[in-house]
Amino acid sequence: MDSMIHDMAERLFRDHVSHALREDAAAGHCPEALWTRIEEAGLHMALVPEEAGGFGVPAAEALRLVRIAGAHGLPLPLAETLIANAVLARVDLALPGGRLTIAEGAGLRLERRGTAVHASGPLTLVPFARWADRIVTIAALDGADHVLSLPVKDLTVAPAQDLAGMPRDDVKVDLALTEADAAPLPRSLGGMRGLGALVRSLATAGAMETILSMSVEYANDRVQFGRPIGKFQAIQHYLATMAGETAASRTAAEMAADSYDTPAFALTVAAAKIRAGDAAETVGALAHQVHGAIGYTQEHALHHFTKRIWSWRDEFGTELDWTRELGRAALSSPQGTFWHFITDSTAQGTPA
């Protein structure tokens, strides 16, 4: 079952996510037909429990879809929809179907007005908001986290985009929510920032694997001075460096995915986001160095991937946010026990 959905996703994206489709999406066109195929395959439900309509695959396996989507530069909110559905299912809110997205709700104000809850305030740089039916977010009401399911049609959306041209819209919220659209979150899943950071780390790892294989292929094909540039040691060492960085961020992202919904998640996701950001710096720069001028064009596919990994660095907590957070935790370990902090933070815990 696990590898079946991965194979299915791999095939679907290979057949349908082309350079042209990514170009088109970056120009503002939502690839509706591709989304229909994704829904038909049920990929968007992979992270919800079986009783809520999922496949019953372990979370880490479901999350692998995000790495695969990243490897293809999928210009659709699959990762966001996976997380949104999982969060809604966790609090027994209806799974509305369609494209969903997620946002950090720190800027929202919730107040009770009679039986309804009034939500107001901004949500900034919301991924794919204008292509989504609903935004799922988490905000505080009476001092406790609540999950909100916000219909986009009732919100004000001002379009903006990330470096890769993907929608990252500014949204104004001002509406009354019924019980059908708001519910208390009993146990934290890591917050929207953590969940968003998780999927961005996984997607970064996938995108970097594609960048690496594109770069290796190019180095084997491109001839200068009478031989493939991949024969030059400087180029070989760049590619080896890219492989190490890619491996590290994939390991980091998978470590976070493996601890999804466990107490270890808070720190592993920080490590994953930080490591992905560091790797994005090196891998992006070296990939462009290896590709020469052709890689700096719109015509070449490389930029869709490098621009994505550069954008994702800043999303759902910048590197500075995450390094400070992890650093504060590390420095609060008692004298002489930093090592214990490291082993505890990467412990697997007891297997479920």
Binding site: V216, K231, A247, T251, G327, F338, W339, T343, T346
Partner: protein
């Protein structure tokens, strides 16, 4: 892309009970062991310590019980190894034997060799050294010139090995040398198990490192006679034997924890009040360390399953060396205190020791450039 896939260590790899036992043991053993000694990391030598560790069953852990081992998994061994390194315990006396020589003898040795040597390794009694590098054969190991020729009852060896860590105290050397001619650059090589205390005509002389310390040596073989049962494994198969040792040699926690004493000092200084910028740098360091550990444990898991993760090991060593080499720079960027060898406060002394140690991290065990060449080949660069 299998090169970039590091499967998570198998469930239960934490071995928490074992970890707590080791921590308790180390807390007692090393109660008065000062930071500047801990800074020596796995270069610290103490036969007594190795023996006491062995008494607890923590040397030769993965060896079969038949040979004095404890038949435990590579992941249990990993737990002990990383706890030793994090504590800065003096482990070199048994480290090489436990890590690679013992497993090599178990894999390739005769029953006699296994029964004679391996139980003593597991008892923490034997120190091994590695005789690979020569004056004209460093990265290019296949350029080895030291030659063992067949003679009545054994071999006669002539040649010079260098940089042989702890040869001056070691009981045994595993020698890599030429035993014949071959068309193939990698052919005609063999390995020998040499009893350094009982073999004549071996001259071991110190080479002092830039920190003024005597760790490595020059070892001259001058018509040295080795009995035929000193041959380890197949004659002519030395190259492939050596290559299979490398995944063990390159992926362990010693490839990213060599500067750990300085990390503890640094965090000790910053713990009281750190600026946001300092917190962020410690966060970045923590993230890298968490991930390196996961990668290294992943390789241990692969080794445990009998796979040969040589490429993944090369990646761990390359990334690990970058990490551990960067710690003195990081410390200096966060704390304004000069390095003072043997200096008054432990931070200054540990910084001084570590600053002088780090250049060797991307040389020993295969240079950075050689590792990257291995990785590049693994990527399929034609």
């Amino acid at each position: 892309m299998t090169l970039t896939a590091f499967p998570p260590p198998p469930p239960g790899a934490d071995h928490d009970d074992l970890r707590q036992e080791v921590r308790a043991f180390l807390a007692e053993e090393l109660a008065d062991f000062p930071p500047e000694k801990r800074a020596e990391s796995w270069n610290g030598f103490s036969r007594d310590f190795s023996r006491r560790l062995a008494q607890r069953g923590w040397v030769g852990m993965t060896f079969p019980e038949e040979y004095g081992g404890h038949a435990r998994s590579a992941l249990e061994r990993y737990v002990v190894s990383e706890e030793l390194l994090a504590a800065g315990a003096p482990v070199i006396s048994h480290w090489i034997a436990d890590r690679q020589s013992g497993p090599l003898i178990l894999a390739k040795g005769t029953e006699d060799q296994k029964h004679q040597i391996v139980p003593r390794i597991a008892a923490g009694e034997l120190c091994f050294c590695i005789g690979m590098s020569e004056p004209d054969s460093g990265s290019d190991l296949a350029a080895t010139r030291t030659l063992a020729t067949d003679v009545e009852g054994g071999f006669r060896v002539n040649g010079t090995k260098v940089w042989t860590t702890y040869a001056h105290v070691a009981d045994y050397m595993i020698l890599f040398c030429r035993t014949g001619k071959s068309e193939d650059r990698h052919g005609g090589m063999s390995q020998f198990l040499i009893d350094l205390k009982a073999t004549e005509n071996i001259q071991i002389s110190p080479i002092i490192d830039l920190g003024g310390e005597h760790h490595f040596n020059q070892v001259i073989f001058d018509d040295t006679f080795l009995p035929s049962d000193a041959l380890l494994g197949e004659k002519g198969e030395g190259w492939s034997q050596v290559m299979s040792e490398l995944a063990f040699e390159r992926s362990g926690p010693e490839r990213f924890l060599s500067s750990f004493a300085l990390i503890e000092e640094l965090i000790g200084v910053l713990r009281q009040d750190a600026t946001e910028a300092q917190q962020a740098e410690i966060g970045r360091l923590s993230a890298h360390l968490m991930v390196l550990r996961q990668m290294s444990r992943s390789v241990a898991g692969m080794l445990n399953e009998g796979k040969n993760p040589a490429l993944q090991a090369a990646i761990v060593k390359d990334l690990g060396a970058l990490f551990e080499q960067d710690i003195p720079r990081l410390a200096r960027s966060l704390v304004s205190r000069p390095a003072v060898p043997g200096g008054g406060d432990s931070y200054a002394a540990v910084l001084a020791y570590t600053a002088l140690a780090v250049p060797s991290f991307s040389l020993r065990g295969g240079t950075r450039e050689i590792l990257r060449g291995i990785i590049a080949r693994g990527l399929g660069l034609r």
